[in-house]
């Protein structure tokens, strides 16, 4: 990102028109935290840092906290609340309406070979429909290729709650360079064998053969998030936790 000081915006504040990226052909893309009031006003709706990407002609607000609001394409970890004739009802966060996950939205699922999930089971899914007037819909299969792309039921392991901003950092394509999270790499270098799945709704699933490893990975993630550790501190924390485990 640019080196200039971060630009903090509050809801309703005017954005300097010179900051809005323009391109001859590509349309402007607005990310979370911004709203477009026709014809030409762009206003922030949350407090955060305004980020502008001139190459992709996009802008959004970077912030942390609050409740997860589903949006299309997000990867989430949900808990099955109950099963109906054609759907599973999946809880994404407490006290919000359940999302629906069709029984046949799994890889190579047919009426006879679909996964049988009980209430309380976990799924890693993608939000296929999010709309303010309807409950969100999920899928565990890529509808164009029919492949699961790593989505589906999560067996064993344990789920840890993290803040939404931390989940976003873990999900970044270059979480090490851009998100400044190295806990998972550091834990791997220490010789722990584990797998993770990160949900945009602030949940991280950790699975491993050894229960100790699951607990250590979970604690490392939680502490990194809660105490706001930098890269160096993350490595130190991992060293300490691994030493305590052994």
């Amino acid at each position: 990102m640019s080196t200039e000081s971060p630009l903090v915006v509050l809801p309703g504040e005017a954005i300097d028109p010179s900051l809005i990226p323009t391109h001859k052909k590509k349309p402007l893309r607005l990310g979370p935290g911004l709203r477009h009031i026709p014809p030409s006003e762009i206003v922030p709706t949350v407090a955060g840092q305004l980020v502008v990407d001139h190459r992709k002609t996009s802008m959004w607000i970077e912030y942390n906290g609050g409740r997860y609001i589903p949006s299309q394409g997000d990867l989430i970890i949900g808990q099955i609340a109950r099963s109906a004739t054609d759907f599973y009802y999946v809880s994404l966060s407490p006290y919000t309406p359940n999302a629906t996950l069709p029984h046949l939205a799994f890889e190579s699922a047919t009426k006879k070979t679909r996964p049988q999930l009980a209430s309380g089971d976990l799924v890693y899914a993608r939000v296929s429909l999010a709309n303010r007037h309807m409950d969100p819909e999920l899928e565990c299969v890529n509808s164009s290729t029919g492949k699961s792309d790593g989505l589906g039921p999560l067996k064993d392991g344990m789920v840890f709650d993290v803040s939404l901003g931390f989940a976003r950092r873990l999900l970044m394509a270059k979480s090490r360079e851009e998100g400044k999270v190295e806990v998972l790499e550091a834990l791997g270098e220490e010789g722990l064998a584990f797998e993770t799945a990160v949900g945009r709704n602030g949940k991280v699933w950790v699975g491993s053969e050894s229960v100790k490893a699951v607990v250590v990975v979970g604690r490392a993630l939680r502490e990194t998030d809660e105490r706001g550790l930098g890269v160096e501190a993350q490595r130190k924390l991992v060293k300490k936790l691994v030493r305590e485990m052994r």
């Binding site: 990102m1 971060p6 903090v8 509050l10 809801p11 309703g12 504040e13 935290g33 709203r35 206003v43 709706t45 949350v46 407090a47 955060g48 840092q49 970077e62 912030y63 942390n64 906290g65 609050g66 409740r67 609001i69 006290y95 919000t96 309406p97 303010r132 007037h133 901003g165 950092r169 998100g179 400044k180 999270v181 706001g228 930098g230």
Partner: protein, 251 residues
Amino acid sequence: MTTAAPEASLNALPRADGSAKYSYAGYTVTASVNGPIEAQRRDEHAYEAHVDVIIRPSAGVGGTRERHLESILQSSLSQIILVKNFPRSVIQIVLQIESTPENAYVDTKLVQASLNLPIIPALFQTAVLALLSATVPMKATATSTVVAVVSEDGSKKIVADPSPKDIGEATSLHVLAFTSHDELLLSESEGDFTVKEWDDVYERAHQICCQTASKQAGIDMMLDDDSSGPNMRHFLRSALETKVASDLYWK
């Protein structure tokens, strides 16, 4: 007249979606915000979110006065929250009053039946801070203040952020709130006053709530012009800048 600057801390409660603790002029209020969450049938609205304000007094259980304060805050807060974005849901704001300034001159128990106007700015400001901390989408931010008209030697004087003693002697008391677009959001008055007095009150409150939050000017005004009360907008901004900086420490 109080000299202390307003203080706020955000995200103090770990389990709420957002929370804020605010103290100013002897009032301390803690707020938690949860939402958007699923609405109960009776609160459900097909096209917009229901803003649920709950006020808990520092001692005892809430009564009619609290319900009245809740209705005042509810109607003004739903103006600045983007309620249309979350149909059939609830945004729940719980305000716990922790302490109120004591009046050494008047026995507070005697005036319990009256409406407690001077606490509204503290409640309102805490609610706005907690909403911002919960990243509830909003149209604008808002600031609020209380102004008293006190008669002194036959002439009327306007006192911003009056002390309990000033309030006891005031001929009229006014609470005003403004959005960050300088629009009047809330106006509640009590006592006898003329249109001219109200205009003066409006001018004074507008000055306190709507001074521009530019960084340089803000500091200067805080230093040389403290007779006009604190610069609420500057305060709100600096509280949020601290929060954003700590949230995005990794940037």
